[in-house]
């Protein structure tokens, strides 16, 4: 029973996905958006299920007698088919768990389900005009979101590999979903080829882990590495190989080659998903592996990540300068954004201070979800109405769709990290963590990059505000898309004005299964 409870968000999504596949067969004829509605209901249920399992009763707490932080381990020898509360049991007894539902997992479950709801709202209008077979789309999408959640909680190399591949395969299909569209097919193939190779390399790294330590479990691997320092070279080599797999998901340079083409060709809601979902989930796994398995070599991988961060953000930003297609531009921008997140991880300082790198990276991810989602919702709204995806076609948007133009300006400011936006809070913590860890040079390169990025973010705004409208009248936006937009914008503003709840949520989530700060 406990098992079902603590896997309920994933189970709900999978059940609804199967339900949609089934109903799609039954209602062969024009299903309208009924299946989309069912998917949305599933998503909302999963959201509440996540909330339900992430809080624990806390008698005597001020206000509601509950608090964030309910941690259990699942699928372990001590679990006996149920769940073991991590607050009452020593880690040593449950370190063979395959999956944990800890604060960190729940944080990424929230990120996944919020992303899912936002993108679902955006895809109603988009899919109903472009594809006849919508059922599979919604079903696959639910599966992709559940894969994200599974990635967040995997603590075993096998689970990590399976859930990563689960997310990859659903993403490949979603990318190529517009069957008649050549670009969509091309994007899917490229994505698939790139993904298979990096998976293979990652698997190789995992096999070295196993060979060296005799365990698939991250915590146990970590214990072995900590004791036997003669394994250092092997451990770091294997970690570097695994970085290929994670780097592919996150779209880090030099594993970013697929991103621009996949982003451009995929249906735009899927592009939005690719720019958030796999990135966040990839970070979840990367963080788990680094902090649970090779924390002892923290100094080594921290330098490696810092260098990767510099390359990633610089390359992403510089190439984004020359893009004229909005989807490609946002693709390179999201590569650069991953670079900023990496700064936070590189600056992980084991200090548990407020400016710790782990806090920073989680805050940045959360903030990035709303901001990037919002930007993509604007792009989708404009594409739905006019088919335009080129910056030059955005002329005069302030006349044609004032709300879209203003919100786009706001999201672009947020992506660039200029207050008063949530993006500023993210950058503030990321750069702060770098300074806190004594990596001032990294912070300096980071801020220079964020100045460069303003140039292309504002290039999108320039035609929208400064140039006359080439053709066409008002643009109408469908109700659900509008709702998603306004919620994203409000949250982007609210996180800036009242960041305390987010900071508390994040510092609560940074306590992770098996992470013993030494």
């Amino acid at each position: 029973m406990d098992l079902i409870l603590y896997l309920s968000p994933e189970l709900i999504l999978i059940i609804f996905a199967l339900l949609i596949f089934g109903l799609d067969l039954l209602w062969r004829e024009d299903t309208g958006l009924r299946l989309g509605w069912i998917a949305l209901i599933g998503m909302v249920l999963a959201f509440f299920a996540t909330l339900a399992i992430s809080f624990r009763a806390a008698p005597g707490a001020p206000g509601l007698p509950i608090q964030w932080g309910n941690q259990v381990a699942l699928f372990c020898s001590a679990c006996k088919g149920g769940a073991v509360d991590l607050l009452t049991v020593a880690y040593a007894q449950v370190e063979d768990a395959l999956f944990v539902s800890d604060n960190f997992t729940n944080f990424f479950r929230l990120v996944a389900v919020i992303t899912g709801i936002g993108i679902l709202l955006a895809s109603f209008g988009y899919m109903s005009t472009r594809s006849k077979s919508r059922g599979e789309f919604f079903g696959l999408f639910l599966l992709a979101v559940s894969a994200m959640m599974l990635m967040g909680g995997s603590t075993n190399l096998l689970m990590i590999f399976l859930s990563t591949e689960f997310l990859s395969y659903t993403s490949y299909i979603l990318t190529g979903y517009l069957r008649e569209n050549k670009r969509s097919n091309e994007a899917s193939i490229k994505y698939f080829l790139f993904g298979s190779i990096t998976s293979a390399v990652m698997l190789y790294g995992m096999s070295i882990y196993y060979g060296a330590t005799g365990s698939l479990n991250l915590v146990r691997i970590g214990a072995v590495f900590t004791q036997s320092t003669e394994l250092e070279v092997m451990a770091l080599f294997a970690t570097a190989l695994m970085m290929a797999g994670f780097g592919f998901k996150i779209a880090l340079v030099p594993f970013h080659g697929w991103a621009p083409d996949a982003y451009e060709g995929a249906p735009t809601p899927v592009t939005a998903f690719l720019s958030i979902g796999p990135k966040a989930a990839g970070f979840a796994i990367l963080i788990r592996v680094l902090l649970e398995a090779v924390i002892v070599y923290h100094n080594d991988w921290s330098t490696m990540l810092a260098i990767l961060a510099v390359i990633t953000m610089t390359l992403g930003n510089v190439i984004a300068l020359t893009q004229s297609n909005v989807k490609r531009l946002l693709a390179y921008s999201s590569i650069a954004q991953a670079g900023y997140m990496l700064i936070g991880l590189a600056a992980f300082s084991m200090s548990k201070g407020i400016f710790d790198g782990l806090n920073a990276v989680l805050i940045y991810i959360f903030v990035y979800v709303f901001t990037n989602l919002g930007a993509f919702l604007v792009v989708i709204a404009i594409e739905n109405a006019t088919g335009a995806v080129d910056i030059s076609q955005y002329g005069g948007m302030i006349r044609r769709a004032p709300l879209l133009a203003v919100l786009m300006a706001y999201f672009m400011l947020s992506l660039a990290g200029i207050p008063p936006t949530a993006g500023f809070i993210g950058k503030f913590f990321v750069f702060g963590s770098a300074l806190n860890a004594g990596m001032s040079w990294l912070a300096a390169i980071g801020v220079i990059n964020s100045v460069i990025s303003v140039f292309y973010y504002f290039r999108v705004l320039r035609p929208m505000f400064f140039e006359p409208s080439p053709e066409g009248g008002k643009i109408s936006v469908d109700r659900w898309l509008n709702f998603g937009l306004i919620v994203s914008a409000l949250l982007t503003l609210l996180i800036m004005l009242f960041p305390t709840p987010l900071i508390n949520l994040v510092s609560g989530s940074a306590t992770m299964f098996g992470l013993v700060l030494r």
Binding site: F355, P419, P420, L435, V447, I448, F458, F465
Partner: protein, 524 residues
């Protein structure tokens, strides 16, 4: 009180988004802008009697209250407790005149714009009021985090003001993004410096008033970190002022901006930089500032002389005024550098203390004067442009006889700007030189040569080319100033004369704050 002053403009901007017609928007914006103007006058009158805090919500810690003794009308509420970020506002004799300058120029600018802006009216007035919120916010913020946010908030509206309402032939898009990127490039380093201060204070704090207290000097021990942090701030402020060689954004932005935008840009936005010098660099980094005061003073003198020489070679009226800003702002920095160079021991000496105080007073007064005088000059340029549709100085001439009211006001403003005794500009620059002569004798002497160049370009390029000579045929039907244009200029002209003849009312206000800051540095 201060919260109202900061956010009322924004509230007005939001209200006017829902007004039906352009005329209603214009009328509403102008009338609404009188509220902050009146509030700033009231604040000026009552602030010395109001040293205690107004607490809003959860109180700030006692050490903040204790540290803010030199500030008035204080307001403080915890904002992000985990980071120790507070919503902490307060004013002293330096910020009060600058707030008044901001609200005055905004009202005047809105009034003038309500007659000349007829395109995308709603956006224009909204952005203008948003800009006012950002500017006042910088002058009242006493928390680094808050300071940074207001600092950046002012940036975005200005970008759109230049880009949308700029003159098409001046490449407004290019100038707008150049302005934005330059300013941002400086301010991101300020952000890093702010975080560095937080990380190096015990207990960690973002509070400007707390960090200012000598006992809490975060960097007294670590020279390297304090130097880096100093230059983080310095870069942000130097670009904003702008000091040579960071000034290249300024002529483009000024030229491209619409008239009221140029007025605010020159009148207030440049002051944000010098205000940062006084509010942050001097009290927070006295040792580092002292160490680098001479190089900074040299840059200031280069700005003075170079600004004047470049202004002299301009044929575009507006660019000439823009470069004159580089020239005048150099004096402000010179005055501050001269005060910053004093060691605490020297400040114990009453004579030297007075010298330093006169440098700071002169600098702040020069800021205020530059705001009203250059503001008026940009209005005058804009008014001439509305009539002639050109700013080419070579095509003008003989306007003194043609449009005498215009000529008279231009003459007054130009004389004030070049420092004629009896008008405002003289008082500020005189005090600066009085402050700098004792410690920076050679540089002061060179700066005085700069004044000669200033007189040269104003008399030779402006007075001679515009007012004297024989008018071209094509200007025969030029109308003189309309009533609304006179109304726009008169408040500025009155202040110019008033400060020139009787400056002590404003100097007394400023002096109280400069003395407090110098006492802090001198440990007196």
């Amino acid at each position: 009180m201060l919260t109202a002053l900061v956010f009322l403009p924004l509230l007005g901007g939001i209200i006017l988004l829902f007004l039906p017609t352009d005329n209603a928007i214009k009328r509403f914006a102008v009338i609404w802008s009188f509220i902050p103007l009146i509030l700033s006058v009231v604040a000026w009158v009552i602030y010395p009697t109001w040293p205690e805090f107004t607490m809003l919500g959860t109180n700030c810690s006692p050490d903040i209250v204790h540290a803010s003794q030199m500030f008035y009308l204080g307001e403080c509420v915890q904002w992000i407790p985990v980071l120790n970020v507070n919503y902490h506002l307060g004013v002293d004799g330096i910020s009060i005149p600058l707030i008044f300058l901001t609200t005055l120029l905004t009202t005047v600018g809105l009034y003038y714009s309500s007659r000349v802006i007829n395109e995308r009216v709603r956006e224009f007035f909204f952005l203008f009021l948003l800009l006012e919120t950002g500017m006042i916010g910088v002058f009242v913020a006493l928390d680094f985090f808050l300071f940074y946010i207001f600092w950046e908030v002012g940036l975005v509206p200005m970008y759109f003001l230049i880009g949308i309402w700029g003159h098409a032939e001046d490449r407004p898009h290019y100038s707008a993004i150049k302005f934005f990127l330059y300013t941002l490039a400086g301010s991101v380093f300020m952000l890093l410096a702010i975080i560095a201060i937080y990380l190096n204070t015990k207990p960690n704090t973002f509070d400007i008033a707390v960090v200012m207290q000598r006992a809490n000097q975060p960097f007294a021990s670590d020279v390297f970190i304090s130097t880096i942090a100093f230059f983080g701030f310095f870069l942000a402020f130097a670009i904003k002022v702008p000091i040579f060689p960071f000034h290249t954004w300024l002529p483009d932005a000024h030229t491209a901006a619409p008239t009221a935008g140029s007025v605010i840009l020159a009148g207030v936005l440049l002051k944000l930089g010098t205000y940062g010098f006084i509010r942050i660099l001097m009290p927070v980094f006295p040792d580092v500032f002292r160490q680098y005061a001479i190089p900074i003073a040299i840059l200031a003198v280069i700005s003075i002389v170079y600004g004047a020489l470049v202004a002299m070679s301009q044929t575009d009226f507006k660019r000439l005024i823009a470069y004159s800003s580089v020239n005048h702002m150099g004096f402000v920095i010179l005055g501050l550098a001269a005060a910053a160079i004093m060691t605490p021991d020297q400040l114990q000496n009453q004579n030297l203390f007075n010298t330093a105080a006169s440098g700071v007073n002169g600098a702040v007064l020069a800021m205020f004067n530059h705001g009203i005088i250059t503001g008026a000059l940009f209005f005058l340029v804009g008014m001439l442009y509305e009539r002639t549709h050109t700013r080419d100085l070579n095509s003008f001439g003989g306007f003194g006889a043609q449009i005498p009211v215009y000529g008279g006001l231009l003459l007054l403003t130009v004389f004030a700007s070049l420092g004629l005794p009896g008008l405002a500009g003289f008082v500020g620059e005189f005090l600066v030189l009085r402050g700098s002569y004792a410690t920076l004798t050679t540089l002061s002497a060179i700066a005085v040569i700069g004044i000669v160049f200033t007189a040269a370009y104003f008399l030779w390029r402006v007075i001679q080319r515009v007012l004297l000579g024989v008018a071209d045929e094509k200007w025969a039907k030029l109308p003189d100033l309309h009533a609304f244009e006179v109304v726009t200029l008169v408040p500025l002209a009155i202040l110019t004369v008033l400060i020139g003849v009787y400056p002590s009312w404003i100097i007394d206000t400023i002096n109280q704050a400069s003395v407090a800051i110098l006492n802090l540095i001198g440990g007196i």
